[in-house]
């Protein structure tokens, strides 16, 4: 049963990936400029080169053949060159993606750690001043434009008070060789520096972007958990449990909490796409060398191979996380199983 479900999900995943690659492939034709240079990322192509490239890319064949060739190149890791740097795009993505993953995962953890307890607290003490305070703050935080909040925080904490650095991932004094791309792992692996001081600097650089990025998902999580918990508390099995003589904490823990937190798994998947979008904005403001800033720069530079590759990677990431959380949700929640 469960295998059949997984197979269906995998089939769906394959279908979604085919649609995604068709979309990205068609962008080659939609973007202005020469098709051959859009596909390869080469600039200043001579006419002879143009001819040979056209045959090697399969451009003289049907669209269908071209699409298959395109997929073959994607699988081979031959994603073309970046217009701006003339480096392989895949290599550039490998350099910038870990920074985004780092920032986004810390923000996601923070939003779960703060959002779930606050949401539960608001639901349990419904209509008290605490609930009104938490819900009000969540609504306010939910409406704040993230780039404006970031600017205000930079003005306050970095420029006025001077507590936190304004941009980058690490102080310029530290020379940490890039090995994994994750800053703390790199600091651990580095040998010739003061690791404690470097880690402290990295933490200070990380603090403000993470808090800013976490603000929106946290508020969404508070609203979602509160709503979900209130829904559960209205169910009949809660009344039954109460009538059976369980105390309030027992009812809340055994019956309320477990059922209310089930949909949160799915919500995490849905939140992930918003998180990545907001991460792009945060990265631009804090000059965080992640995939978001890289992608926005590529748009300024009309760097079409990079835009395509960035879109493909970010969307695949979001789709995979979505699929994973959906499968987890189905495994945890018997009611969601429609085998």
């Amino acid at each position: 049963m469960i295998l059949r479900y997984l197979a269906r999900r995998l089939f769906l995943l394959g279908f979604v990936f085919v649609a995604l690659t068709v979309f990205v492939f068609s962008l080659n034709y939609l973007f202005p400029g020469d098709l051959v240079s859009n596909l390869t990322g080469l600039r200043n192509i001579t006419p002879e080169q143009h001819q040979t490239l056209q045959t090697s890319l399969g451009l003289d064949q049907s669209l269908w053949q071209q699409y298959i060739e395109y997929n073959r190149r994607l699988l081979d890791g031959n994603w073309g060159l970046s217009f701006a740097s003339q480096q392989p795009v895949l290599q550039e993505i490998g350099r910038v993606l870990p920074a985004t993953l780092e920032l986004a995962s810390y923000a996601l953890c923070l939003s779960l750690l703060a959002g779930i307890p606050l949401g539960l607290l608001a639901a349990v003490r419904k209509d008290s001043w605490l609930d009104k305070f938490i819900s009000g703050m969540a609504l306010v935080g939910y409406s704040l434009p993230v780039f404006w909040l970031a600017l205000i925080c930079i003005m306050l904490f970095s420029l006025q008070l001077g507590w936190l650095p304004t941009s980058g991932r690490l102080g310029v004094l530290f020379e940490v060789p890039t090995q994994t791309g994750f800053i703390f792992a790199d600091i651990l692996l580095a040998t010739e520096i003061d690791r404690m001081a470097a880690a402290q600097s990295a933490f200070l650089h990380l603090l403000l972007p993470t808090l800013i990025l976490a603000s929106y998902p946290t508020n969404v999580m508070i609203r979602f958990v509160r709503h979900s918990m209130l829904d559960v508390l209205e169910q009949n099995y809660i009344k039954t449990a109460r009538a059976k003589g369980l105390s309030r904490p027992q009812v809340l823990y055994r019956h309320g909490l477990r059922n209310a937190l089930l949909p949160v798994t799915r919500q995490v998947g849905l939140q992930f796409s918003t998180l990545i979008t907001l991460a792009m904005l945060t990265e631009v403001i804090f000059s965080w060398p992640g995939i978001g800033q890289w992608l926005i720069d590529s748009i300024y530079q009309r760097n079409y191979p990079s835009i395509q590759a960035g879109l493909l990677v970010v969307s695949s990431l979001v789709i995979c996380v979505n699929m994973l959380t959906e499968i987890l949700h189905t495994l945890f929640n018997p009611l969601a199983r429609k085998f």
Partner: protein, 297 residues
């Protein structure tokens, strides 16, 4: 004076009146509604009427602080920017760009979304399955990212941003409307109508659609707040409205250079975006509560 009633007569209020009665006592939601009405008026009026010309550069009045500060001028209540343009006029005209165009974009997405959503909701089998999977794909790509890609294809500009936002909003409308229709189709009154011999088209037109305005208006408020934030974000990134256009997001980006000297040029547009989105969310929450109460009463 109360009306004298001689005979017992059952008197039901209209659904809209009932909704309004449940909406009115929520002070915050009413407050949000009033702010939205004011903003809408400003957005409609400001293209024709302004305290000063929003594009006029006055080299003698550069970076005049707001009038509540000591050296501000009464005729420039919110001060001027680094080119000596009146900030209040620019913010007012910005309301029609950031708020007015967002409403138009969401309205457009809503109309097309209802059309396609009806198609998605009424069909079954393979057709609907393929359609839904494509929608799932579109829903997983973040709306801002989708908008960025569309802008990258079309080129930067305010109008292209509006198209992009419209397209990016479309999947969630189709999905929401489709789901709402599926839920409606399960209701007893739909089955009764079907037993009376109504065909699909009649059911959709006279039973399902009138019941749809409730979920659709909720979707509308949610999409509107996202649209405003997205338009502002694209403007801030320099992909949306271009330099002289007083769109709130691009105004923030323009004023970044003078953030030390004139913090109000950054703070005020952002504050306005925040107030707009907050009031939309307040109204949305209020509507949601009112609908819930009306259904229970």
């Amino acid at each position: 004076m109360k009306k004298l009633r001689l005979y017992y007569e059952e008197y039901n209020k209209k659904p809209y009146q009932l909704l309004w009665r449940h909406f009115m006592p929520q002070h915050f939601a009413m407050f949000g509604l009033i702010i939205l009405c004011v903003l809408l008026t400003i957005a409609l009026v400001s293209p024709f009427m302004n305290p000063h010309d929003p594009y006029l550069q006055n080299s003698e009045l550069l970076l005049v602080p707001p009038s509540w500060q000591g050296n501000g001028l009464v005729s420039y209540p919110f001060g001027t920017d680094d080119l000596g343009r009146d900030l209040m006029s620019r913010l007012m005209l910005g309301a029609s760009y950031s708020f007015g165009l967002a409403i138009l974009a969401v309205l457009g997405a809503m109309l097309v979304g209802i059309l396609l959503g009806a198609l998605a909701g009424m069909t079954r089998g393979v057709q609907s399955s393929i359609f839904n999977h494509l929608l799932d794909l579109a829903l997983t790509i973040p709306s801002l990212l989708l908008a960025i890609v569309i802008v990258a294809v079309l080129g930067p500009g305010l109008l292209n941003t509006i198209w992009a936002i419209m397209l990016a909003m479309l999947p969630q409308f189709i999905h929401g409307v489709g789901n709402a229709i599926q839920q409606q189709l399960k209701q007893d009154y739909v089955v009764a109508y079907r037993l009376d011999g109504a065909n699909n088209w009649q059911i959709l037109w006279s039973v399902v659609l009138p019941n749809l305005w409730e979920p659709v208006s909720l979707l509308f408020t949610m999409a509107l707040s996202t649209a405003i934030l997205d338009i502002a974000a694209l403007g801030f990134l320099g992909l949306g409205a271009q330099a002289p256009t007083p769109e709130w997001g691009s105004m923030i980006a323009d004023a970044l250079d003078s953030i030390y000297l004139a913090p109000w040029t950054v703070a005020l547009p952002g504050l306005l975006i925040f107030i707009t989105v907050l009031s939309i969310n307040l109204v949305g929450d209020g509507l949601h509560k009112a609908m819930k109460k009306r259904r229970e009463s």
